[in-house]
Amino acid sequence: MEFKLEAHRIVSISLGKIYNSRAQRGGIKLHKNLLVSLVLRSARQVYLSDPCPGLYLAGHPGAPALPQQPGESVAGPPACWGEPPPPAACAAWPEPEPQLELPAVLEVPRAGDAEPAAPVTGAGDTLQGGEAEAAEAAWRRVEGPRETAVGGAGVPAGGSDVFPQGPGAARRPWGCPPGDEDKMSASPRVDGCRAPSPAGPEPPVPPPVCPRKRGAEGVGGGPADRPAPGSTPLKKPRRNSEEQSGGAAAAAAQEEEEMETGNVANLISIFGSSFSGLLRKSPGGGREEAEGEESGPEAAEPGQICCDKPVLRDINPWSTAIVAF
């Protein structure tokens, strides 16, 4: 367990470094960021391989409802974030259409990359899929406003609203392109995969993980089981803090966790498919850098990120982040 905590901490530090590197003078330093991504990968592997049965890092039913999808309910987060998402599961999503939105910001640097990426791939199994979708949706939601500000090309008229729905860009770094099995099956997350427990028992909540778990019902809650509370993103954070009962590790740790996850969420959104290399092959993997492609558009909107923080916390970005990597 200590390893997991340590790994968790290292992952958050690493993500913070990558995030801050965007603002560095002289552009992104390829060498340093490559090293940081290797540390991330190591920490992720430890995190995944640490035998903690039924460990839910993917969060829980606390995943925010997607306001832009009225009538949709978001399933709980993936039961096991180590799971490979069966692509077919995408179809099983309660959502009528797969999240195809891709912030143009993300698209630009990732030309042609398909992502194994994480959470969305979880979209496979019913529940897990749903949560992954929710997580992904949340990501995109974060990106939404940024994107429009940047004039994202791939964003349909959803505009400033959170989720530009509808036929968006075909590229989806986070997405689970239907039928695109190959990339996802290669996800190294299989390594640490545990048997999916869709309606599984309440998982032991690791202290550093998002506090949302506290108040959440069992992860196994059905896809359609998303309770109404916090139907708007703004309410979520308050609810979360209220629910922070019980607590294993210090609430302080969780506070810290919350602050960090904001960045994590942003990082994931921003770098999206860049980490697919890490996911696909253990020996390989790195991130697209240095050309400075990312720094341009992303550096433009720091303000937007800040306002989305409360939203980000809701989706338990940790799970998404970890899974993403």
């Binding site: 003078r25 002289g26 552009g27 390829l30 340093k32 540390v39 697209e288 240095a290 720094s295």
Partner: protein, 371 residues
């Protein structure tokens, strides 16, 4: 300037005493960012010491002649010349600022009274000529002592100008500017033994230049993968062999060193020799990859050995043996248990250099050390 530290690690276990001879610049904590020294390089004879800082300036120190009346004091270094080598630039296409920080300085072998050095920032290499002027001509016919032109019609007699001594003035002038050849950040430059060419290395490529030609360079090593997501290592340092002008080595972030022979092919993507020490599985940690990244590689003067520096150790390699180094010296092993903190405060990314002393007894130089 921010101070730099020094340390010694004698090969063969001799007892060498090391001590600070001289500290230049500010020793306290309150140092401006632009004054932080980013690179240091002695000239071949050791009489000049060039330093580059984050503000793009180069300061050259000269060792004073040893004074017979003070036989025990070693020659002190005093400022010889200061000039602004690089300025911050902006790449409009990529919306990137290009830092003026001097990454490397290399002296050219001396040929004549003037001294030449190469200095580089992330993107541009410049050849500087440093020359002394200690005489001034006086008695011009067409102009006054203060420089005003005289009316030619008023000149009735001619005189021969006379050279008179003046206070020593050291001038630095840029002679060549080698630009636009690197997409990534330049980390190394190395002058070839032919004294005509030199290499510049960035994270993924190494280019070969001729000192006289600025509009063209040849790419001799390219490790950029077709898909950047498959990137696993970058080039961290490169150097030419001291005697064989066709041989170069480059080190990687994975702790490996590759030796390339330019005679084998135009593009030296395939190495001739590959130096790697197997990792000790018992010391594996989250940060194993970071601390194994080689930050500097230097050939010995003889050309038979090379020295590499990673975060915690210095290794001496025999060029004839690729499987492991012949010597390994732990520099600050006590830091191994503190790697996580060093990672947090970014100290683990500090790059140290190393160099051989004149007789190829190893010397390790700490470039800068943040505590």
């Amino acid at each position: 300037m921010a101070g730099a530290g020094g340390g010694g690690c004698p090969a063969g276990g001799n007892d060498l005493q090391w001590c600070f001879s001289q500290v230049k610049g500010a020793v306290d904590e309150d140092v401006a960012e632009a004054d932080v020294i980013s690179t240091v390089e002695f000239s071949h004879s050791g009489d000049l010491l060039a330093t580059g800082d984050k503000g793009g300036r180069v300061v050259i120190f000269q060792r004073e002649q040893e004074n017979k009346s003070r036989p025990h004091s070693r020659g002190e270094y005093n400022v010889y010349s200061t000039f602004q080598s690089h300025e911050p630039e902006f790449d409009y296409l990529k919306s990137l600022e290009i830092e003026e920080k001097i990454n490397k300085i290399r002296w050219l072998p001396q040929q004549g009274a003037a001294r030449f050095l190469l200095s580089t920032n992330d993107k541009t290499i410049k050849l500087w000529k440093i020359s002394e002027r200690d005489k001034r001509a006086e008695g011009y016919n067409l102009k006054d002592e203060d420089g005003r032109l005289r009316d030619p019609l008023r000149i009735t007699a001619l005189r021969v100008p006379i050279l008179k001594p003046m206070d020593l003035m050291v001038e630095a002038s840029p002679r060549r500017i080698f630009a636009n050849a690197h997409t990534y950040h330049i980390n190394s430059i190395s002058v070839n033994s032919d004294h005509e060419t030199y290499l510049s290395a960035d994270d993924l490529r190494i280019n070969l230049w001729h000192l006289e030609i600025t509009d063209r360079s040849f790419n001799i090593v390219d490790i950029k993968p077709a898909n950047m997501e498959e990137l696993t290592e970058v080039i961290t340092a490169a150097e030419f062999h001291p005697h064989q002008c066709n041989v170069l080595v480059y080190s990687s972030s994975k702790g490996t060193i590759r030796l390339c022979d330019m005679r084998s092919s135009a593009l030296c993507d395939r190495h001739s020799k590959f130096f790697e020490e197997p990792e000790d599985p018992s010391s594996r940690s989250f940060f194993s990859e970071i601390i194994s990244s080689v930050s500097d590689v230097k050939f010995s003067h003889s050309g038979r050995y090379m020295m590499t520096r990673d975060y915690l150790s210095v290794k001496v390699w025999d060029l004839n043996m690729e499987s492991r180094p012949v010597e390994t010296h732990q520099v600050h092993e006590y830091l191994r248990s503190k790697l996580c903190s060093l990672y947090e405060n970014d100290c683990i990314f500090d790059k140290f250099e190393c160099c051989w002393n004149g007789s190829d007894r190893m010397v390790e130089r700490v470039q800068y050390f943040k505590l």
